[in-house]
Symmetry: C2
């Protein structure tokens, strides 16, 4: 990170600019709704489900929720990550001037050499897909220290520019474009779709989003989304942003770090939500520490993540990877989150945007997940 | 079938009327495209894949195909079947006059009692879902003779009206509405989507459908689709309709029966495409015997069906049931079909509409399918 003089502020305006840059290279993924999931979320959990939690013995919350699922599992390469990657590379071309443009033109014709540093424990399907897109894969250990050492070595040997997966403003701005599309698409859906399950305003018309929840690993997507929704909208309405993590083996580092006021720099978790094993980055920590941007981070168990994958596959008929199931698991199973919605939304309920971050899994991986689980 | 005096002719016009009737009750499911599958379909098979077929030793065909997938897996109840069911019930209300309307109004308020005759070997998930929608399930054997005996007995005991799953014009007309939507949606997509992979006309503009292929079990969907596309379109263009069946244990009864000029009335196949185990009905046989309506029926193996399910789950990130994978399997693996496309479409290629008929499966069912297969 030696190029801080070129760093853009992470604002709604710069996310709009990022969107104009990346738009030609990404899909505008659809926003889907699902009455079955609305109805499940709006049904109180059983008292049994609260056993062993701080809510044991209390009346389970009865929040009313209408979901809007932003399907980044249908995005190019099957995940939102292309947003940050395209934005970062396009920004390198912008800031390095003509020389870089000339190089890029040549490179795009000849295909840019890209060195991809991946933990050696990555899913074989992800390694194969990366190679399939022409990336040269270099393996590293799975901690960030191990990874950064390999990155430095590769940069010295190849002279390559680092495109960070989450801890760089260009990446965060790019990921924030998912939130931008979600807001516009929900407003359009609500105004054009008769009979949609949606919170109604005093004028009897459907309202836009009340809250958005995204997965949180390195924090690029969550902090980009939080930045996009930082300011109240034109009608004075504030749209709240929540983060969602797995709790397994300490993967809830963001939740714990934000509570303690200090970022947790290392995580060693083998949660099934393999995209969320990364510790939260410095930029995300600083954005999400601002309570005007983030309403908090919630975490769920491995079994809750699996339940949601099963619900989404069998009810919505779409494929999401375990990491993408985490925010919906918070909405369905985290009693603290559900109490917030019940208390603040009341009878009207909330329209909750959920970012399905990716869909990179295989039938075999799903089989294995559910074979080892049937307890 | 004692009400033949009320039978409507199965024509494009009556399918349009059926669509107006059912539209408020069904979803207009999306039409998706997928560059990876276009590219796979447009790559010749390996010579090995042709071993043991009549095409062994020949040059594999190099057809050019752009797919348009009509996603009835996202339909209400997860399958196109609601089209025929709603149309049949709405037609009963129409033809029986005020009395039936009054009964229906009462019934819809009190919830209509529906007796559902299902083979006892049906998937437990389908049985549960049927009960979940309030149907009273009555089990029968799996042959059509066994089923019809149980149906007659239930009718005598309850006085219920039979809503046939495929062999009644109202059902066929309802299923044909999937083809109607597909054509309109493809025309809209082609005209509104820059950069879409599509056959171009002489004017450089994208063209509509050249062919449509659907699964064929009882034949309601395939014969309804064939009837909708029977006449050339306004521009003089004929859109061809193909059928697709599993070949396992004689489930390719339609293909064999049409070739022999005589319908095969019974099938005993345990193909994984469990929606296509039914023998083709009389109405479908008569429609599909007309070569101006059907371009023929093709069949594929269990392994080919599984390959396609895996491709669709892992590349398109959507869930289809085995029966829904059969038409795409024909496009990818049936050399005779592929030669037709190569010969007739040439360099321009064809725009092929594929009806993904349903998505009713479970993670466990998929796991089992792929666990027993890994040979």
């Amino acid at each position: 990170m030696t190029d801080k003089q070129h760093w853009l502020p992470i604002t709604q305006e710069n996310i709009q600019k990022a969107h104009s840059l990346v738009k030609p290279y990404i899909y505008e993924t659809p926003v889907l709704t699902c009455k079955t999931l609305n109805s499940l979320a709006s049904t109180p959990q059983t008292p049994d489900a609260l056993k062993g939690t701080p809510f044991e013995g209390q009346q389970p919350a009865r929040p009313k929720i209408n979901f809007f699922f932003k399907c980044e599992n249908f995005q190019r390469i099957g995940a939102f990550k292309v947003r940050g990657a395209f934005h970062s590379i396009l920004r390198v071309i912008q800031t390095k001037g003509n020389h870089a443009q000339a190089v890029a033109l040549a490179a795009s014709t000849l295909s840019i050499p890209a060195y991809i540093i991946m933990p050696s424990i990555s899913l074989p399907s992800k390694i194969e897909a990366t190679k399939g897109y022409g990336g040269k894969v270099i393996f590293s250990g799975s901690t960030s220290d191990e990874r950064e050492a390999v990155v430095r070595k590769a940069q010295e040997e190849t002279g390559a520019i680092l495109i960070h997966p989450y801890d760089h403003p260009d990446t965060v701005l790019g990921q924030g474009t998912a939130g931008l599309e979600l807001e516009a698409q929900v407003n359009k859906l609500v105004s054009e779709t008769p009979g949609l399950s949606v919170r109604l305003g005093k004028d009897g018309k459907g309202c836009g989003l009340d809250a958005v929840i995204t997965p949180l690993g390195g924090g690029g997507l969550n902090s980009g989304t939080a930045s996009f929704f930082a300011e109240p909208r034109e009608n004075g309405k504030k749209i709240y942003v929540f983060g969602a993590e797995p709790s397994f083996q300490g993967a809830d580092d963001a939740r714990r770090g934000l509570k303690a006021g200090e970022r947790i720099p290392a995580v060693k978790s083998l949660t099934i939500a393999d995209g969320l094993r990364t510790p939260m980055g410095e930029i995300a920590f600083s954005i999400l520490s601002d309570s005007s941007k983030s309403r908090g981070v919630f975490s769920v168990t491995e079994e809750q993540i699996k339940s949601v994958m099963k619900l989404v596959v069998e009810r919505m008929k779409i494929v999401i990877e375990p990491s993408a199931a985490v925010p919906l698991a918070v909405c369905l199973f985290d009693e603290e989150f559900r109490q917030i919605v019940e208390r603040e939304a009341g009878e009207d309920g909330w329209n909750v945007g959920v970012i399905f971050s990716g869909g990179n899994t295989t039938i075999e991986a799903m089989s294995q997940l559910f074979a080892t689980s049937s307890s």
